[in-house]
């Protein structure tokens, strides 16, 4: 009996130790780091979520290594950032020195204390934050502190098939979004269905992902500027969704459009433009490079997306460098982030790309860096290609880059996104009306925001 009691006690003790051990968090560990441009650095810098896969990354990485000095060894942990792996690393005291994340993730990391505010880093390394595009900086600013050094800007432009537009008697003005009734009319003219099967998608409003773009074009934001209030049931958001879904309904429903879109050779020479199976859609600027590479003769026409007043508009996203809590070499991490995003590094990287594109006979379409100064210098390096179509694409891209907006950092980034995307999907799948779907999404998103903000106070 005694032996059994002893056994139970041992099991309980071991269990308690194990539970306590595993539940160990990071407590209130603070990072004391001397951030100074003139400090000689040493030690290791492991970079999570970043792989130097192209010349833009490789050249800047070489610059960063040079600036940190030969006593710093850099280890890259490539691949998309694995959030759980990253957070577990931070929690167990095994954080990487720098983390490379989507800007949309920074608020969530900051709210949990997984990354540190960069005020001291910015001050010590003299990082000129005014050089960053405000939409990029807003996305990494949480409760008044910058938690990430932004880089790259992804924007959308209207990409259209000029032949199809011409045959239908349409121009870019009909599909750039400046007038939704014009887009709806153009959609009907461009759409072609044979025997109940869709043969040409007239206009693809790219739902669910581009709801923020259409809402903003209609004068509404999905979330308040302080990141605390969801605004998904705003009548302007509902109106934008109703219109964008109507584009699909006029073509026989989202199911048909999606099925046809999914069957397209998106990255190949038989893409929707080259095969004449898509009239127009808003799409990120990187797709211009794909089209130029795989189907340089495609009959393309480009413009910025326009808001209801006819002004250019684009939803900006991109990446950011952040320093995790527990980073063992924050000084080096900060310098790494500075050099990766400073104008001279971007320019050097762009020069290398120009050289390589010239060697391959390809087109240099510029690089959107998230840094206004670097963008200007790189734009100046672009030479007319001699082909009006691709020059038009580059002009549209840079114009869009000057007219961006972003969503503010908030602690429930992923849940908020899931809430509005699920709402849009319920409409696309025919399960709810736009109004009901957005009302439900509003409830879910607001609850997620309230819970997440309340958590910070605990």
């Amino acid at each position: 009996m005694q032996r059994r009691a002893r056994a139970y006690l041992s099991v309980a003790a071991v269990g308690t130790v194990l539970l306590a051990g595993c539940a160990q968090g990071t407590g209130s560990q603070k990072t004391n780091a001397a951030y100074d441009r003139s400090t000689k650095l040493s030690g290791k810098v492991s970079v999570m979520g970043f792989g130097a896969t192209d010349e833009i990354a490789k050249v800047r990485l070489a610059e960063a290594k040079k600036a940190m000095g030969s006593k710093v060894t850099v280890k890259l942990i490539p691949g998309d950032l694995d959030i759980q792996q990253f957070l577990s690393g931070v929690a167990s005291g095994d954080a990487p020195e720098v983390v490379y994340a989507d800007r949309g993730q920074i608020g969530s990391f900051a709210s949990r204390g997984a990354v540190i505010p960069l005020d001291d880093c910015i001050k010590g390394e003299k990082i000129d934050t005014s050089a960053f595009r405000s939409s990029a900086l807003d996305a990494v600013t949480f409760r008044g502190h910058v938690y990430g050094i932004p880089e790259f800007n992804v924007v959308q432009i209207i990409q259209a098939n000029a032949d199809l537009l011409r045959k239908a008697g349409l121009t870019l003005d009909d599909v750039n979004g400046s007038s939704w009734s014009k887009v709806s009319a153009a959609n009907k003219k461009l759409t072609r269905t044979v025997g109940g099967k869709l043969k040409v998608i007239g206009f693809d409003s790219k739902l669910p992902e581009f709801l923020p773009l259409w809402a903003k074009a209609n004068g509404a934001d999905l979330i308040s500027a302080d990141g605390k209030t969801a605004q998904l049931d705003d009548p302007k958001v509902v109106q934008a969704l109703t219109w964008a879904v109507g584009i699909y309904n006029a073509q026989g429903g989202f199911g048909k459009v999606k099925a046809y879109r999914d069957s397209a050779d998106f990255f190949g020479s038989g893409n929707q433009y080259a095969s004449g199976t898509l009239g127009a859609m808003p799409m990120e600027q990187w797709y211009v490079n794909v089209l130029n590479d795989v189907s340089p003769k495609a009959p393309m026409a480009f413009d910025t997306v326009r808001d209801q007043q006819g002004q250019p508009i684009a939803f900006a996203s991109g990446s950011a460098w952040a320093i995790p809590k527990g980073s063992k070499n924050p000084g080096a991490a900060c310098r790494f982030a500075r050099v990766m995003t400073q104008t001279s590094s971007w320019v050097k990287a762009a020069q290398e790309r120009v050289r390589l594109r010239q060697k391959d006979g390809g087109l240099f379409t510029g690089v959107l860096t998230g840094n206004v100064d670097a963008d200007k210098k790189i734009e100046a390096m672009i030479k007319p290609s001699g082909d009006a179509r691709w020059d038009q694409a580059i002009r549209a891209t840079y114009t869009a880059n000057d007219h961006t907006f972003s969503m503010p950092a908030n602690p429930a980034g992923q849940e908020f996104e899931t809430a509005w995307q699920d709402g849009v999907n319920r409409v696309l799948n025919g399960q709810q009306s736009p109004k009901d779907a957005m009302a439900q999404a509003q409830k879910e998103a607001q609850k997620a925001l309230d819970d997440a903000w309340a958590e910070i106070g605990k």
Binding site: R112, K256, K258
Partner: protein, 304 residues
Amino acid sequence: MSRRRSAVHAGDTRAAWLFISPWVVGFLVFTLYPLIYTGYLSLTDYDVINDPRFVGLDNFRALLSDDKVILALRNTAVFAVMSVPVKIVLSFFLAVLLNRAGRATGFFRTAFFLPKMTPPVAIGILLLLMFNGQSGLVNEVLGWFGINGPAWTTDPTWVKPGLVLMSLWTVGASVIILLAALRNVPQELYDAARVDGAGWWAQTRHITVPMASGAIFFLVIVDTIAALQSFTEAYTAYFGAGNSTYANSAALFYAIYLFQQAFQFLHMGYASAMALLLFVIIMAITGIQVRLSKRFVFYAGDQS
């Protein structure tokens, strides 16, 4: 004499424990401990990075009022109810056919099993290609018979049937198990039945099915558990690589919602409570199946 016997007995026991210890250690470390820890986490608010905070039964209370939990449970139950019988019946039918295939059995056995080697993520992508409403193979074939196939991948009514049909891609493993069971049915039973004038159907019903009932029961249990934990194919096709922003709530299985809560929203405590609930549900269903099996499953060894 008895002391010597007990010494031998103790030695045997030690050896037995030694041999079984790799499994015992594995079970303790990789099954029992995570289970206990999940139980602990289910009572906490835990976001991976900060210390778990004890919240009592809050997570379980939240579970009961979470509409998505109800939706995910319903989706999972409907999928299991549709997929398990279809899979068992088809694999039994194929096993019976294979059993009569003579020399070609070896080839077909390999051919049926090969799709099982496909990674589940690839099956998810394959689903989107084969069941594409516009140009998919399935609707193409239906078109030959004048049937205008549905939008399998977007119409909520057809999403689960599509997943059920796609789950048949890996039916090969069940076919092999059933084939082995059919090979063990003594030929004398069929000979005796034939002498008594039993036809193919009567032989199948009264000899083949009862004699293979042990294997069928095993498959019912294993397939039910797999269906209730179904994740990768549906996630890939409707929530992950196949669609980065588009999702279909008809495919929101319980394990997918659990994954979202744990690894996307970082609500580890809540996800642990969800995991425990699923564990209890699976235990209960398996318990009922085991109880019912006593009426339907025939074990030759029980007859002695």
